[in-house]
């Protein structure tokens, strides 16, 4: 019998609705803002207007290009999971942790909010056991365990927004102060002071690029598909059940290049009441299929 409750679908639907609504609502509000900085990306300085003859040239502003409202990233993950039900997994697999692989996609709004889904897969082979008074007897019957979490996450990326900073005029000879004498007729009009040159279209190009870190945090719900198979099974012995999960996560994105980045993430997942009704998990009184997961991500996309 499936353990997933009937309300899971409605919970998921509600969650998706909320996330979508947040995204839609956030987009126009932010779009009306005048971009006043950048998130550290390349900057194209605009040519400053020439200074008025009697006024010092106003400081030039670094004006970034308008970011798109939404950006998309795909990512692959290598994860290391440590299960909360440590005694159970240790009894069967000989360890309570292991590696997992996965991937997902993220939609980020320029306001910092993001939504992502992530699918990963943990698989290992241990053996069936018998537990008695804390002692575990290994029975030598292979047991294949597969845990496949699908997580839907809403969160916020703490994008560092640089304030618009006045740009210093170029360090060159300042233009001569205009004389108070009226121009003589026929005389050539006085030379306008040279407009300050744009410092560079890529002001940092001459310096080594610095790694930037974009922390983020979020949480959400998901599903964990749990499968358990071993030989000598009869009808009903194999386990293939899905459970609702909840998680929080935090991490750091590290953009490496225009379309490529990396990052690390720590995730804690709860999968309550997934275990404990049978098997060795019942013997140990462990009910949660969740745990800590440390992920390394490689992202592609803006």
């Amino acid at each position: 019998m499936r353990r997933q409750s009937r309300s899971t679908g409605s919970v998921l639907g509600g969650y998706l609705l909320v996330v979508a609504a947040l995204t839609i609502l956030a987009a126009p509000a932010v779009a009306q803002e005048v971009p006043d900085g950048d998130d550290g990306g390349d900057v194209q300085a605009q040519p400053a207007k020439p200074a008025a003859p009697r006024q010092p040239a106003p400081p030039a502003r670094r004006t970034p290009p308008r970011e798109p409202a939404l950006s998309f990233q795909g990512f692959g993950t290598f994860a290391y999971t440590s299960f909360t039900a440590s005694e159970t997994f240790n009894a069967v697999l000989g360890t309570s942790s292991g590696s997992a692989f996965g991937g997902g996609a993220r939609v980020s709004h320029r306001s910092g909010f993001f939504f992502q889904f992530d699918l990963s897969r943990f698989s290992d082979t241990g053996q069936r056991v018998y537990e008695y008074q804390g002692e575990v007897f290994e029975l030598g019957i292979p047991l294949d365990v597969t845990v496949t979490p699908l997580e839907l996450t809403g969160g916020y990326r703490f994008v560092r927004r640089a304030r618009a900073t006045p740009q210093k005029p170029p360090a060159r000879t300042p233009p001569k102060a205009p004389t108070k004498e009226p121009p003589r007729a026929g005389a050539a009009p006085p030379q306008r002071p040279a407009a300050p040159q744009a410092a560079s279209t890529r002001p940092e190009s001459s310096a080594p690029r610095r790694l930037r870190f974009i922390p983020y945090a979020g949480g959400g719900i998901g599903f964990v598909q749990y499968e358990e198979e071993s030989p000598f099974a009869e009808a009903g012995d194999a386990v293939s059940e899905s459970f609702t999960s909840y998680h929080v996560l935090g991490g750091v994105d590290v953009p490496l290049w225009r379309w490529l980045g990396t990052g690390v993430e720590v995730n804690y997942r709860w999968v309550p009441d997934a275990l404990g009704e049978g098997g060795v998990s019942k013997a140990f009184g462990e009910t949660d299929l969740g745990g800590f997961t440390f992920r390394v991500r490689v992202t592609v996309g803006q």
């Binding site: 159970t88 008695y132 047991l143 358990e228 000598f232 275990l275 009704e277």
Partner: protein
């Protein structure tokens, strides 16, 4: 055939009452220079209990468990369009199937001319297959039944061994095919037909059933090892606590029969099958029989002898001790209880018969009573071919588990079959005095007995399999047997079945994470 054990126990008791004090003769038998060969006389029906109930309740092997299938999929072959079947497109067909089954996926595996239809694992594949087979565009559909190379013994009488199919031994043997030679099962009983030898005895006169039987004087009695029980290195550390020597020859057949259920050689094309047929057997004689009495054996089967036998088995490496014996008179048996605790502390699991006298007042079985509270020692009740408690099986608070012991009232084939002596060659003391003569213990037949004595070696055999599988402590073996037992009678533990009928497959398979 409950009378077999009753007879054995009664004879022990009688002898125990007749002989008090230390034995005066130690050389009650002399090993002769003769080594008879066994004679196998095939199968006979035990003439004891009869039945007027047709053999309709004997369970065919496996039952529903014999038809396991992979959940969530069926094998289906769709007809090609234009070949008499539906011309519905694949898309419309998928849509129709989705409407009927919910989310589906159709896979065309390699090396196949059929498809696999995947659907909700909660649906019944057999019902889905029937539904599919009714479609015009389906040539055939079937559940994906699991196929395996299961072990099925070729012993000719295996088909009559309902007791093994009742507890699903073929499935259990798929997991553990008869245990390991390193596991030793001590059979504390009337001895075991384990050697070819001849012994000289002096048979005095005696009375039985109101008749006086004449003394036979010095006679040479032939013994042979049971052909279906004996192989090289099969028997270890034999000992006879009735004659106080290392030759525990069986002079009744009970111990040989019990040994067969625990570990009869199996898949050898001979006779019957046993449960832990790769385990080794330690014959320990601690029950005296009618012929031991007639031969004036130095000891009889009393509590002290049984206690010593238990300790001997434990001290000599027994992993499992089978005690198809008991007594239901007198006070409790603390000496036996202490010996049981000692054996368990040494790593030996003990199975003790729960008693056959429910219909005779349901008295307390004093040895089973000792086993009840000891983790690692189990008192065993008996069920018949229908899986229900045998009418003779004791109903007591110390009953912990049930196993097939037989019941001829529900089936003409209601007994537990094994090879042992031909009663006609042994029980001459039941003949009129004029036909009375020396016994022969070299003539074997396959015969069915009933009783908790027969149920007990099922548990002992299972314990041997469990120990070879990896559950190495007696208390854990007991806990596992109880945990995976098939509940019978009132829900949970009860005095008739204990925790229920043993389930070897489930017990050997143990626990996964969730199931």
């Amino acid at each position: 055939m409950a009378s077999v054990v009753a007879l054995v126990v009664a004879s022990c008791m009688a002898l125990g009452q007749a002989q008090t004090g230390p034995p005066t003769k130690r050389a009650a038998r002399v090993l002769m220079d003769e080594f008879p060969e066994a004679v196998d006389r095939g199968t006979i029906e035990w003439p004891g209990e009869s039945t007027d109930v047709p053999d309709a309740t004997v369970q065919a092997r496996g039952g529903a468990a014999a038809l396991p299938y992979a959940p969530g999929k069926v094998i289906v072959k769709f007809r090609a369009a234009g070949m008499g079947g539906s011309r519905a497109s694949t898309t419309s067909r998928t849509r129709e199937l989705s409407a009927a089954l919910g989310r589906i996926r159709i896979e065309r595996p390699s090396h196949a001319d059929f498809s696999l239809l995947h659907f909700d694992p909660d649906l019944d594949p057999e019902a889905v297959a029937v539904m599919l087979a009714a479609r015009d565009d389906v040539e055939y559909a079937q559940a994906a039944y699991k196929v395996r190379s299961y072990f099925r013994p070729n012993d000719p009488l295996y088909d009559q061994q309902w007791n093994l199919s009742l507890i699903g031994m073929e499935d259990a043997w798929d997991i553990n095919e008869g245990g390991r030679e390193s596991i030793i099962v001590a059979v504390l009983d009337t001895g075991v037909a384990f050697q070819n030898a001849s012994y000289a005895y002096t048979a005095g006169s005696f009375t039985n059933g109101g008749f006086t039987y004449p003394a036979l004087g010095r006679i040479v009695v032939p013994f042979a090892a049971a052909p279906d029980l004996t192989s090289s290195g099969r028997f270890v550390s034999p000992y006879d606590f009735i004659y106080d020597d290392p030759n525990p020859v069986d002079m009744d057949g009970h111990g040989t029969h019990v040994s067969g259920t625990a570990g009869q050689l199996t898949n050898n094309g001979v006779g019957t099958a046993g449960i832990a047929f790769k385990a080794r057997i330690m014959p320990v004689k601690c029950i005296s029989t009618m012929w031991d009495d007639i031969f004036n054996s130095p000891y009889v089967g009393t509590d002290d002898v049984v206690a010593r036998a238990i300790r001997y088995a434990a001290d000599n490496g027994a992993d499992v001790i089978n005690m198809s014996l008991g007594r239901n008179g007198g006070a409790s048996a603390p000496a036996v209880g202490a010996a049981m605790r000692y054996a368990v502390s040494k790593g030996a699991f003990i199975a003790v018969a729960g008693g056959n006298d429910y219909e005779d007042g349901n008295p307390v079985e004093r040895l089973a009573e000792q086993a009840g509270p000891i983790p690692g020692a189990m008192a065993v009740a008996a069920v018949g071919p229908d899986g229900n408690r045998a009418p003779y099986s004791g109903v007591q608070s110390y009953i912990e588990i049930a196993a097939p012991g037989g019941n001829r009232r529900v089936s003409s084939n209601g007994g537990v079959w094994q090879q042992t002596y031909d009663p006609a060659a042994v029980e001459t003391y039941d003949l009129p005095p004029s036909r009375y003569g020396p016994p022969r213990f070299d003539t074997f037949v396959n015969i069915s007995y009933t009783g908790t004595s027969m149920a007990t070696p099922h548990v002992a055999g299972l314990a041997a399999l469990l120990m070879s599988q990896g559950i190495t402590t007696p208390s854990a073996v007991e806990a596992a047997i109880k945990q995976f037992a098939t509940d019978k009678g009132p829900e949970g533990r009860d005095d008739e079945y204990g925790e229920g009928l043993i389930n070897p497959r489930a017990t050997l398979r143990g626990l996964g994470i969730i199931r």
